[in-house]
């Protein structure tokens, strides 16, 4: 089994090896009952370097990013940040996410930002539904949203200079 240290000592996420398993994070987590392993177990596995074990869990994808865990941690570990970094790591390694719907949504959302610098909510809902092959999901809401002028058919205008800016960044990345 591969053992690499996962974000153990970074200025951003705090030092996961400081965790003494008090489980405050897990007891405060609003979505813990849906998870296969609990947040404090994720931190434990991460600090042991058992990356492979955490990357295949439902937990990292179920995390709602509410930061309840991070603000409760007595050792200032940004557990939410670790969860996000694990999601990215799983994707980088080509691991199929245990909750593909969450991953698809994030990708659709991010790609829409890259188009013009702002999101077009209707497009995101549509593209997400099509990719998940559930074209009518949440469609009950759409008519009322339209009537109340809360959904716009036209996408927002491109943010001035955004695409050029992004292009430069992406070219540097390569």
């Amino acid at each position: 089994m591969e053992t690499t240290l996962v974000e153990t000592e970074t200025a951003t996420y705090g030092n996961t090896s400081l965790c003494y398993q008090c489980a405050k994070c897990s007891s405060g987590c609003p979505v813990s009952e849906e998870m296969d392993i609990l947040p404090h177990q994720v931190i434990h596995l991460a600090s042991l370097g058992l990356e492979d074990r955490v990357l295949y869990t439902d937990t990292i994808w179920i995390c709602a990013n509410c930061y309840a865990c991070a603000v409760k941690c007595p050792n200032d570990i940004d557990i939410t940040g670790v969860m996000n970094s694990l999601k990215q790591k799983a994707l980088d390694k080509g691991i199929t996410p245990r909750r593909p719907e969450v991953c698809t949504f994030h990708k659709v959302f991010a790609n829409d930002i890259y188009r013009r610098g702002k999101v077009h909510e209707l497009w995101i809902m549509g593209e997400y539904n099509l990719r998940m092959r559930k074209p009518f999901k949440n469609m009950m809401l759409a008519p009322r949203m339209f009537l109340k002028n809360k959904l716009k058919l036209r996408p927002p205008r491109e943010v001035r200079g955004f695409r050029g800016w992004l292009k430069k960044i992406l070219s540097r990345k390569r």
Partner: protein, 305 residues
């Protein structure tokens, strides 16, 4: 002593009042332009009545919300650094952010870049923009409570919201920011409650003030987000409130649009409107409901005669 008396936001200090050399700008965020246009409408009306001198920030981009930081952490930093750097270039000192998600992204990025000089240098290089750290990112509640001040808000009240019982709901991201950046108590904030009190409303103590509504799972795992919304609504309804005041557009959409389906399941007796705090302010300042976009809320707020 009730928690309301004990937990005074004043302990969570911050410079008070507006200064001459401050340049205030609003960062609206994507949702205020579309699904929560009524938030922007009420905000602009309230700022006008409070005589706040402000501009809307130019050329801002989306903060990336929960999505970008989940799959691309570097891009998340760069998107937000672009906003901060442009704000700095535009001479903005106070960047007022109404959306809790945008606020969380911007304030966390600003903090992260200050914490880690190497990272900051790297991001500056990547984006081709320099951010020195001169922009103060302000949550809308921080701005209203600390900069505008309760006194000024109180002076503008023409039609006090007497007889209205309100549960103030902050949601998760408004207060859960890096410790040095907090403007209110993380677990039991009071700034919105104080504002509602000044408007003449009666506020209640309740248990779900800062609990997550699951808005980031709104489209993906509706069962989870419905359960979270249900718990919030049920607790508020058991306390006999007329409405839940919110300041986050995600929370508002989630509480407002989901509740018709789940009211029976969670035994919630009557509809619970969730107006923005700025909409309540507008009403108390004497605006007609349409002027602050109340006609755009799904559950309508019935005001007493």
């Amino acid at each position: 002593m009730t928690p309301i008396e004990r937990n005074d936001v004043r302990r969570h200090k911050r410079e008070k009042g507006m200064m001459k050399d401050q340049k205030i700008a609003l960062y609206p965020g994507c949702s205020l332009e579309t699904s929560s246009s009524h938030y922007l409408q009420s905000l602009e009306k309230v700022f006008e009545l409070l005589e706040v001198e402000y501009t809307i920030m130019n050329d801002w981009n989306c903060c990336g919300a929960t999505s970008v930081k989940s799959i691309d952490q570097d891009m998340n930093l760069m998107l937000n650094q672009r906003n901060l750097a442009l704000a700095e270039q535009q001479g903005i000192t106070e960047l007022v952010v109404p959306c809790a998600s945008c606020y969380h992204r911007l304030v966390s990025t600003s903090w992260e870049l200050q914490q880690d000089p190497d990272r900051r240098q790297w991001v500056n290089q990547q984006t081709g923009l320099t951010y020195r750290g001169d922009v103060k990112v302000r949550n809308i509640l921080d701005f209203l409570y600390n900069l505008v001040g309760l006194e000024k808000i109180g002076q503008k009240v023409q039609r006090p919201l007497e007889g209205l019982t309100v549960a103030c709901y902050y949601g998760c991201l408004n207060t859960r920011v890096p410790k040095s950046e907090t403007f209110d108590v993380m677990e039991y904030p009071m700034s919105m409650d104080r504002i509602a009190q000044v408007l003449g409303a009666h506020v209640v103590d309740w248990s779900y003030k800062t609990d997550c509504c699951g808005a980031s799972l709104f489209l993906t795992m509706d069962n989870i987000s419905e359960r979270l919304v249900g718990k919030i609504l049920r607790d508020a309804s058991l306390r006999g409130v007329d409405c839940i005041a919110v300041s986050c557009p995600m929370c508002q959409t989630n509480l407002d649009t989901k509740q018709a389906h789940i009211r029976d399941e969670f035994e919630i007796q009557k509809p619970l409107p969730s107006p923005f705090i700025t909409q309540l302010m507008g009403l108390a300042f004497g605006c007609r409901p349409e002027e602050v976009g109340l006609d755009k809320n799904f559950e309508t707020l019935e005001l007493l005669p």
